[in-house]
Symmetry: C2
Subunit: 279 residues, 2 copies
């Protein structure tokens, strides 16, 4: 299969490396000529992805920030292979799918929202690796025309399982954005807020695993996350509100010295955690 | 050396196992006869720690909750070896040290506040292991009489390094409690609050590493943590207040849609994280 990859950063570079490893022909493009040449030098890509070669690709993976991904698709409508898959890799889905789903239909290619659930706190081609997605889930948000076609879903599934993913989850853009606001975006904001206590500078020697866990993702790419957060403001704000309310409840029982109430809050948290793990 | 251990749970059991492994004679006591017999059966302890044998112990480690640790010391004042070390293992230090420091002086034994910075989300003797403290730090809060005696500090240090600890940190009970409110207690409350979002039940397939990190310690022992939190209300409440304020600031820029302000908040968080890691 010929796979086109737009953007050869951490995600695009890792897709290129795993696609090569699994025997696909890989055509790549990156705004940075330097990055493209590096990928070519190491045979991570077989050739350049341009208007002429786009039409050869059964699958095009777009590993750019949301606004850039939408722009790339809008500017290359005429060049995608008819009947081929165009799949983005953005951390939010509504803003991308809403912008391109109907123009994809009009131009005869299949657009599928995608979100590989893997990454590191590092960015760029030099950190990409063929094993980044090994056993990770990928979330796909296909349009109704694809969702209702079981053979099409199976083709998508086999493609990603063939790149090393552990599972393929189909859902709607809205459900994706709601869940990701909780499981990923909230965690990143929290980590960023946690590290801002004046106590952080003195933590050495006092930090057990829990502190490390809480602050790990504070080292984030602020350009990318600002865009992702802003494009998911409604769901993210709701999760932030819930967390602030919950924390305020713990603080008020700590302040009032109500031991029984604190005990109840902690027990409830433990029981929910146990229930969630079992589910 | 003869080491006495009071309380054979996760921490006391692990101390017993590592002390045995490093060649000490271990005398143990647990309120549960069953637990003591299990420890004896597996040769984790050599014999029982009681009023008669307490006086043989150069070091007594007390691995109980704070209130129980204080009570044990108050009730055994006459039996500790003169000139010996009595060291607690509680997660907070002011409430323990304040209660027993002066009566230790009056009764001729040296009380040292201690906090091994290791643990798991599991409790009880069955989870204890000789390697629990391997390379972990232990924080000690000795009284002035010991702090000023460099040979005494060296003896304490060698004892814990000899059990496998990676480092020994000397500080004051107040400084300990302030730092632990941030690095450990706040993390546990946050984890407990985080899991309470209604979104938690649907997380499967949407959870990358950050969600797992944030909710790991929600599975806590609510009896122990209620006591630890309540005994450190002032510092813990201050940290909760700082975190809630910081989160509220992120929420308000998300709500207002101020991209530049959000970018600044995230960049600041990243820079602080980098500075903290380098320090």
């Amino acid at each position: 299969m010929t796979v086109g990859i737009v953007g050869l950063g951490l995600i695009g570079g890792s897709f290129a490396k795993s696609a090569k490893e699994f025997g696909h022909t890989v055509l790549g493009f990156d705004l940075s000529e330097q990055t493209y040449l590096e990928a070519k030098l190491f045979s991570t890509v077989d050739g350049v992805l341009d208007n002429a070669s786009l039409g050869k690709c059964e699958v095009v993976l777009i590993a750019l920030y949301p606004s850039a991904a939408v722009r790339y698709i809008q500017e290359h409508l005429a060049y995608f292979k008819k009947g081929g898959f165009v799949i983005d890799c953005c951390g939010i889905k509504r803003v991308v799918c809403d912008a391109v789903q109907s123009i994809a239909d009009e131009n005869g290619f299949m657009f599928i929202g995608g979100h590989p659930m893997a990454g590191t706190q590092f960015t760029g081609f030099k950190h990409s690796r063929s094993t980044l997605f090994k056993n990770a889930p990928i979330i796909l948000t296909p349009p109704d025309s694809v969702s209702s076609d079981i053979l099409m879903l199976e083709r998508l599934k086999q493609f990603f399982i063939g790149l090393g993913f552990g599972s393929v989850i189909f859902t709607s853009p809205s459900e994706h954005d709601k869940m990701i606001a909780y499981t990923s975006q909230l965690a990143h904001i929290l980590s960023s807020a946690y590290i801002k206590s004046p106590s952080a500078m003195g933590h050495k020697g006092f930090s057990a695993g829990s502190y490390k866990d809480m602050t790990r993702v504070a080292r984030l790419n602020e350009d990318m996350w600002t865009e992702l957060f802003m494009d998911n403001r409604d769901y993210l704000s709701a999760e932030l509100g819930i967390l602030i309310d919950n924390l305020t409840e713990y603080k008020s029982v700590v302040d009032s010295g109500d031991k029984a109430a604190l005990h109840t809050l902690l027990r409830e948290g433990k029981e929910i955690k146990e229930r969630v793990e079992r589910s």
